[in-house]
């Protein structure tokens, strides 16, 4: 457990920082690079154990790495000439649902048989029942799982194609997997998602957009897709910056008392959610101005768009915790709606943020939908919270960074637990804080309690928060 104690900056934040690039973009770029029958460059890839695992599996399937340095990965794919599969060389997806599902789909294109394994954590997830597409399209999947592994045997086909249905209620990854391999099939592939309530709509958009960028045609009519046989073109894929990581820097400008932060090498994505988030920021009084020639994004604090800002967060789930951290510092009443689905993420993010911000001393209240369920939150206008105390990330990197963001605007130093989760999305976050002039220090669990004692835990763990105007 790693706890940091963050000091509110006395005169705002300023400096030059960088944000990481996007993992979903990187994973898709690796798969498209494998399926292209030509070289591809992936510029600024985001590495994680998951994307490393995927690159390793792609190499087993015939991908060749021509060059790799910090900024660029150059690979050469196989098109339909994937290596021939053999049971002696199982592919491993480790604990990644994305990798397992997409590799299963790629294996359908392969000659011979592919044994694909996931670790025990995968056994609990709904994986096997959603791989019916393989049989629908002409390949075969057998379940070889045991108590410690999710394991399947895929027998590929040289006559792939046809119609399939994908249940999109729990994950968009199967749909992404089918779509990505569909152009490599021998006949058109039609996919239908019969159920309403798609999760990860933005990720499906990303998949389709990246396929189109590689010159493959995807016809889409709502939840129906038709993909004709084609070829992925050689590409230079510049991986977009992670706008959720950006949100914590924008939050630092909002909560930390203003200033001017320059984000270097910011590469915008074309995701609708990113554009929507930047628009929300503008309404909240934080400008984000890009200089395309310098490749920078400048974050500055200005005036909100009105006395009351209403935000529909349906399409921007990943930044809801950040918005909760920003809202108490905005010179306006802020209401965020349609955030209930955020409670299905890594932890109950909406509930956790409201209660932890309350402990920090923020004046934040849940809002409810017509059924009386928590649907979002509201803040009445700027109130400097007392701070102090120890806030908990609940094991969630996004909660950790959101709470640290909020702590920048408090009166007192505040301890936030959970820095050990940062590698999940923003390993350089603490450095970025320092680069903006924020002082923070590590604090051991012992000194946390010392710190708590000294501050008398006045951050509102019981009773009313001590918010003051």
């Amino acid at each position: 457990m790693t706890t940091i104690r963050v000091s509110p900056p006395s005169s705002g934040v300023s400096g030059e920082v960088r944000v990481p690039t996007s993992k979903p973009h990187t994973q898709r770029a690796i798969l498209l690079g494998l399926l292209a029958n030509a070289p591809s460059s992936i510029v600024d890839p985001a590495w994680s154990s998951e994307s490393r695992n995927l690159l390793g599996a792609a190499t087993e399937l015939g991908l060749e790495v021509l060059e790799e340095d910090d900024q660029c990965l150059v690979v050469i794919g196989t098109g339909r000439s994937l290596t021939v599969g053999s049971a002696d060389r199982p592919l491993s997806a480790d604990g990644s649902g994305f990798n397992f599902r997409t590799l299963a789909a790629v294996a359908c294109l392969r000659r011979g048989t592919t044994v694909l394994e996931g670790n025990a954590s995968m056994l609990a997830r709904p994986v096997l029942e959603h791989l019916r597409f393989a049989a629908d399209l002409g390949a075969r999947i057998e379940d070889l799982s045991d108590s410690r592994h999710l394991r399947i045997r895929v027998t590929g086909s040289r006559r792939l194609g046809g119609d399939t249905e994908v249940d999109n209620r729990h994950s968009s990854q199967v749909l992404t997997a089918v779509l990505l391999v569909a152009p490599m099939a021998d006949r058109p592939v039609r996919v239908r998602c019969p159920q309403d309530g798609t999760v990860g709509e933005g990720y499906v958009d990303l998949t389709v957009e990246m396929m189109r960028a590689h010159r493959v045609e995807v016809e889409r009519d709502g939840s129906r897709f038709v993909v004709q046989p084609g070829s992925y073109q050689s590409q230079i894929y510049r991986v977009a910056s992670d706008f959720t990581a950006l949100s914590y820097l924008a939050g630092a400008v909002a909560a930390g008392g203003g200033g001017s932060v320059v984000v270097r090498d910011y590469s915008p994505s074309s995701l609708s959610s990113e554009a929507e988030f930047l628009e929300v920021l503008r309404h909240l009084g934080i400008s984000a101005v890009r200089d395309p020639l310098a490749g920078t994004l400048r974050l500055e604090r200005g005036t909100p768009a009105g006395p009351r800002i209403e935000i529909d967060s349906r399409n921007i789930p990943t930044v809801v915790p950040t918005l909760a951290a920003i809202a108490p510092y905005v010179d306006a009443e802020v209401v965020v709606r349609n955030a209930a689905h955020v409670n299905n993420h890594k932890c109950r993010r909406l509930d956790v943020m409201i209660s932890e911000l309350f402990r920090l001393g923020c004046d934040i209240s849940p809002t409810f939908d017509s059924r009386g369920l928590v649907d979002g939150f509201s803040t009445p206008g700027p109130r400097k919270p007392t701070g102090g105390g120890l806030l908990s990330s609940h094991g969630d990197h996004r909660i950790f960074m959101s709470l640290t963001t909020a702590a920048l605007g408090a009166r007192h130093r505040t301890a936030v637990e959970g820095a050990q989760h940062l590698p999940a999305s923003f390993p350089g976050y603490l450095q970025a804080l320092a680069d903006m002039g924020v002082y923070w220090e590590h604090s051991s669990p012992d000194s946390d309690s010392e710190c708590d004692r000294r501050l008398g835990r006045r951050s509102g763990t019981e009773g009313q928060p001590t918010a003051t105007a």
């Binding site: 029958n37 460059s41 339909r80 021998d186 070829s231 590409q235 230079i236 510049r238 020639l293």
Partner: protein, 433 residues
């Protein structure tokens, strides 16, 4: 079956080829026309534009720069050039030298254009030093990551100016063509002189022809060693009609000549193929021509003939593949500049000739092929080195071999001739993935 989706193909021997084939449109003219149309504000039309990957790369770069492209038919586009090209882009020229070098000229007056290619082992390993030095002399700030001006390259033309500049034409005429494109964008006259020798003269003629169509007149010395723009002519929207691709034409002629055949090639112009028909006739191939067709009846004995490759550089590899089946030795000379293409078309190609079973020697600017009418036994594996010309030349050899040749990285034929294997199948050839 889309053969371009596989990264190796077995081209089998064939008894007889027959039928009619239409070669693709010229990539060199198409690429030049697309760029000239982009530099002209307003709507230009390009008829019979090539669909090869190289031209597609040019079109995509031009779209990024601000051109609007409307596909009116599969091979006809209307292209509307923007009032001003976009600054600050990263452009991907694919694996095409001509696309890169022309664009380096055309973007040298913009602020910060970066060129990158995923083809690190082919275009990415080719030197652009001549061009960077020349552009530097015109006030363009050039930075290249690799030695010898290799990609990635960034150009900043904030302080570009006109004047007089020298350029080497020994390794490639593409740098010269790029500078002439830049000349048409500058408000003062630009003088360009070739400092050593110019090998690929037909390609420079193509550049001059396209620029003239776009309204940019260039005063060229008869020996093509010095050029001058007047600084007043601007790019204008124009209509372009593209002829047949010389490299693809030459490959089809070699394909039809190497085995027993009755093949009609229906073309639209024999640009950049000076001396090729003469070569085939002298070698003993039965050819009849009219304005738009060439009929070849192949399969007869082939005489060894020497060839000056500077007359038709794109024909050298297919003719050399054909010469591998002549009675005796053929010499292809004046071709040092072919070393600086998608691969080293003397050394790399010769290595693959040896792998295929053909005896060949090389000199600095010559390839010497020792022919044998029997053809090679076949059964071996050859590599394309990312080069469409090698794929097509090796296919010529495979057709007359005992057991065929496996061509690795055969998909790169699409840089110039995406339908090559389909057209070969249409004539009665046999190809397996």
């Amino acid at each position: 079956m889309d053969l371009l989706r596989y990264n190796e193909l077995l081209v089998k021997p064939v008894g007889k080829l027959s039928g009619t084939v239409v070669p693709p449109a010229a990539k060199s003219y198409s690429a030049r026309a697309v760029l000239a149309a982009t530099l002209a504000p307003g709507r230009s039309r390009i008829d019979n534009v090539a669909t090869s990957h190289n031209v597609r790369a040019m079109i995509e770069c031009c779209q990024a720069l601000g051109a609007q492209v409307d596909h009116l038919a599969p091979n006809r586009i209307d292209l509307t050039g923007p009032a001003r090209l976009r600054d600050g882009l990263t452009l991907n020229p694919g694996n095409s030298g001509i696309v890169l070098r022309l664009l380096m000229g055309a973007t040298a007056a913009l602020r910060r254009t970066t060129f990158m290619s995923p083809y690190v082992a082919s275009l990415g390993s080719r030197s652009n030093q001549e061009m960077l030095t020349a552009l530097g002399g015109l006030g363009v700030r050039c930075t290249a990551d690799g030695a010898e001006g290799r990609l990635p390259i960034t150009l900043d033309g904030t302080d570009v100016h006109s004047g007089s500049v020298g350029i080497s034409g020994r390794r490639s005429s593409q740098f010269l063509s790029g500078l002439l494109y830049l000349g048409g964008l500058l408000d003062e006259p630009l003088s360009v002189c070739v400092t050593d020798e110019l090998k690929a003269r037909p390609m420079v003629h193509t550049t001059l022809r396209v620029l003239e169509t776009a309204g940019v007149r260039i005063d060229a010395a008869p020996d093509l060693m010095s050029f001058r723009t007047n600084g007043a002519d601007k790019y204008h929207a124009a209509d372009y009609t593209v002829g047949s691709d010389p490299a693809s034409m030459a490959a089809l002629m070699a394909v039809a000549s190497v085995v027993e055949s009755d093949v009609v090639i229906r073309h639209s112009g024999l640009e950049e193929l000076d001396g090729v028909l003469r070569y085939l006739l002298d070698a003993g191939v039965a050819i009849t021509t009219d304005e738009s067709t060439i009929r070849i009846r192949g399969g007869g004995e082939l005489r060894p003939i020497d060839f000056d490759g500077s007359k038709a550089p794109d024909a050298v590899l297919p003719l050399a593949a054909l010469a591998a089946h002549a009675h005796g030795t053929s010499r292809f000379s004046n071709i040092e500049h072919l070393r600086y293409k998608e691969c080293d078309r003397i050394s790399d190609f010769r290595r693959e000739l040896l792998n295929a079973g053909v005896e060949a020697d090389e000199e600095r600017d010559a390839l010497i092929v020792h022919g044998s009418p029997k053809g090679v036994p076949g059964g071996s594996v050859v590599r394309s080195h990312y080069d469409h010309a090698v794929v097509m030349a090796m296919s010529v050899i495979a057709l007359r071999s005992g057991a065929g040749l496996t061509i690795q990285d055969s998909q790169y034929v699409a840089q110039t001739y995406p339908d090559f294997f389909n057209d070969l199948l249409g004539l009665g050839g046999s190809v397996a993935s």
